[in-house]
């Protein structure tokens, strides 16, 4: 680099300003790297904003027509041009909740078993199988849902539920094997490998000294595991949020088994509908501008529902970790 020639000096002076900002150490490689990473990070934000703008502008027709009533309307009738999103919002949230209620205990159990209890020759293949489950395409889950899970639930699970818990409005109504419960269960199966794989890594990252300390103080194995779980709490919560994200947006598998009926009924046996399913189902044949616009607005709502649910989850996590004073931010 022949930087000593006089005419080069002012040019370098000019550039030095931004170079100092980007790289205080003055290393060119650092500056390039920093700019690159900044660009990538901003690009991410830009994509989210661009998506929101596109969704909002394409759903303008429907927003103008229905206003806030779109969120509270219960009628979805493309022929008559009536569009209300409440049944879809309800179906999306409730099916995801069912999924989490079932899958979180399972996932924690799997992760604890793999990290704390299983010998190596079992932990490895079982861990591999769990990760394999996460890689199965959702259409396959859906077909399995129609042909195996739904008939199984109809014959062996829903009748006893109806008999023993039929006094609860949750388990009343006709039994077809297709409905909100089946949708929630298939989501639980799809979400479990994701949550358990992440929780396993979280638990594995909790320092061994914690375990040793607990055992040295006379803790039983169960008490030691509790210490590990409390330490990993923020990471575990992160894993659950990741699973929730997948459950909220899952389309194909749920569509196959949820019954696709835009109705709100308390019973989990009744068919329901999710936002993602509605968009996937109706988008191809939506010819009316208003219908199309209403579907895009559903997408916008899913965007916000995901935001809000994630926000609430993070808030909960924050509260929990503050109370328990969770130290090892393992994740």
């Amino acid at each position: 680099m022949s930087a000593t020639t006089p005419e080069n000096v002012p040019v370098r002076e000019k550039h030095s300003d931004w170079r100092r900002v980007l790289s205080p150490t003055g290393n060119r490689g650092d500056a390039i790297f920093r700019a690159l990473m900044l660009g990538v990070g901003l690009f991410m934000v830009a994509i989210v904003i661009a998506m929101m703008i596109a969704l909002a502008s394409d759903s303008m027709l429907s927003i103008r027509q229905f206003g806030i009533g779109f969120l509270t309307g219960r009628q979805w009738n493309p022929i008559k041009g009536e569009f209300g999103a409440l049944p879809f919002i309800y179906g999306t949230i409730v099916s995801s909740l069912i999924a989490l209620i079932i899958s979180v205990p399972f996932s924690l159990g799997i992760a604890v078993f793999l990290v704390e209890q299983a010998p190596h020759y079992i932990a490895r293949p079982v861990g591999f199988l769990v990760e394999l489950l996460a890689a199965i395409p959702s259409v396959v889950y859906g077909l399995w849902g129609i042909f195996v899970l739904a008939p199984f639930l109809r014959v062996y699970v829903e009748p006893p539920l109806g008999r023993w818990f039929g006094w609860l409005p949750l388990f009343q109504g006709s039994i077809t094997g297709i409905g909100l419960l089946t949708g929630g269960i298939i989501l639980a199966i799809m979400v479990t490998p994701i949550i358990s794989a992440v929780v396993r890594d979280v638990l594995a990252a909790v320092p061994g000294s914690q375990r040793e300390a607990a055992l040295a103080l006379g803790a039983t194995k169960w008490e030691m595991i509790r210490v590990v779980l409390v330490n990993g709490a923020p990471g575990i919560a992160g894993a659950v949020i990741l699973g929730l994200g997948r459950a909220l947006g899952e389309t194909m598998a749920v569509t196959m088994v949820i019954g696709n009926r835009p109705d709100i009924s308390v019973s989990l046996f009744e068919p329901s509908y999710t936002i993602a399913s509605a968009i996937a189902n109706e988008f191809t044949e939506a010819t009316q501008a208003l219908h199309l616009s209403a579907l895009v607005e559903l997408g916008l709502i899913l965007f916000f529902v995901t935001f809000i649910v994630n926000g609430i989850a993070r808030l909960l996590v924050w509260n929990v970790t503050k109370q328990t004073g969770g130290v090892g931010r393992a994740a």
Binding site: I79, T176, I178, T255, M256, N260, N281, E282, F283, T284
Partner: protein
């Protein structure tokens, strides 16, 4: 370590080199040969299997003409031909007047093949073919007939041991031409259906559970006892589903077959309007299956590019003549002879800059 580094470096260079060569190789291949033509089409999913067959057979006869068809749905087909992003569109239902007006030029409907919607069911202990009259189908799908042993169903099915079980209705959950044909039929036979539900690709069903696609409906009907649903004829034939006979407008119970579907088109040829946009559900005639319909290809009457237009018209001409012979093998009903004649006249009327293309 250094061997590892060097091999990674070599691999990166290799990938770069190969991808560069790939780009270089692609560029000339993407261009069209000057003697041939490249056509794009998009639309209905229902006729996709036969259109793909046509494209591959026609491609063998005319290797310099390259035609693509994307089955994105009838709605998408109409939108794309309106926007002129494709050379031809395809739709199961004929276009509405306001959609035709929204197009920048005059669009022609060329019927290609026929399909039908059949009633399938899962009823344990009943081996004979069930018979349904139109009012019964409408009442079941309206949720007014709730039990299989309802006297209205029994009246058409003497001798069948109908169970005292609840009927579970299964319908399509995805927007579909199949639903449009079925609801068009129900609107014609039931004033109550017409008023409460109407005709459309995504109607608001009064009752039942939704399955995605023909396979979703079939899966739920097969796996749930006491269900009733509707699917395309071709799908039912290929999967050997139990299929009901339906009472037509002349009072006869007719099995859905390729011949009874073509008969529906032939029977309604007399009152088919000049632009060939017609619904042939509930047609008169003793051997007519009443839930039948055309599927159409949409082309502009005035083609911008003479060479492309000529290639398109030649292909469609081949389709409605030689192509019809392939229909039965794929479980589509071929056009009746007089409709082929009228489609010929439509193709003959296509021009490019004022000059006829055929």
């Amino acid at each position: 370590m250094s061997v590892w580094k060097r091999s990674v470096c070599a691999a990166v260079w290799l990938i770069l080199l190969v991808s560069l060569m790939g780009f270089a190789g692609c560029a000339p291949a993407g261009k069209v040969g000057d003697t041939g033509a490249q056509l794009q089409g998009a639309g209905a999913t229902f006729p996709n299997p036969i259109y793909q067959k046509w494209l591959s057979e026609y491609g063998k006869l005319h290797p310099n003409v390259k035609i693509d068809y994307q089955s994105i749905g009838s709605g998408g087909g109409i939108k794309q031909i309106q926007a002129q992003t494709v050379d031809f569109g395809a739709s199961d239902a004929p276009m509405k007047d306001e959609d035709l007006k929204a197009a920048p030029g005059e669009l022609l409907h060329i019927p290609t093949v026929l399909g039908a919607v059949v009633i399938t069911y899962n009823l344990e202990g009943v081996s004979q073919t069930l018979h349904f009259s139109p009012e019964v189908i409408a009442d079941i799908f309206l949720g007014k007939i709730k039990k299989w042993n309802d006297p209205k169903i029994a009246a058409d099915n003497a001798g069948a041991k109908l169970p005292a079980a609840d009927i579970t209705v299964v319908h399509r959950s995805d927007g579909s031409g199949t639903s449009a044909v079925f609801t068009d039929y129900l609107s014609k036979v039931s004033p109550e259906w017409k008023e409460k539900v109407g005709t459309g690709t995504s109607p608001s069903w009064p009752i039942g559970i939704g399955g995605k696609g023909n396979e979703g409906v079939t899966g739920q009907v097969k796996n749930t006892p006491n269900t009733i649903g509707y699917v395309e004829l071709a799908y039912a034939v290929q999967n050997k589903l139990p299929v009901a006979q339906v009472k037509n407008a002349s009072g006869a119970f007719v099995q859905p077959t390729i011949d009874s579907v073509t008969a529906a088109a032939a029977a309604s040829a007399a009152n088919t309007p000049d632009d060939l946009r017609v619904s042939i559900t509930n047609a008169q005639g003793a051997d007519v299956y009443p839930i039948s319909s055309y599927t159409y290809i949409l082309v502009y009457k005035n083609q911008k590019d003479a060479a492309k237009g000529k290639a398109l018209i030649d292909f469609l001409w081949w389709g409605i003549h030689d192509g019809e012979a392939m229909a039965k093998g794929l479980d589509y009903a071929p056009l009746p002879a007089d409709i082929v004649k009228r489609a010929e006249a439509k193709l003959n009327s296509v021009t490019a800059n004022g000059t006829a293309l055929r």
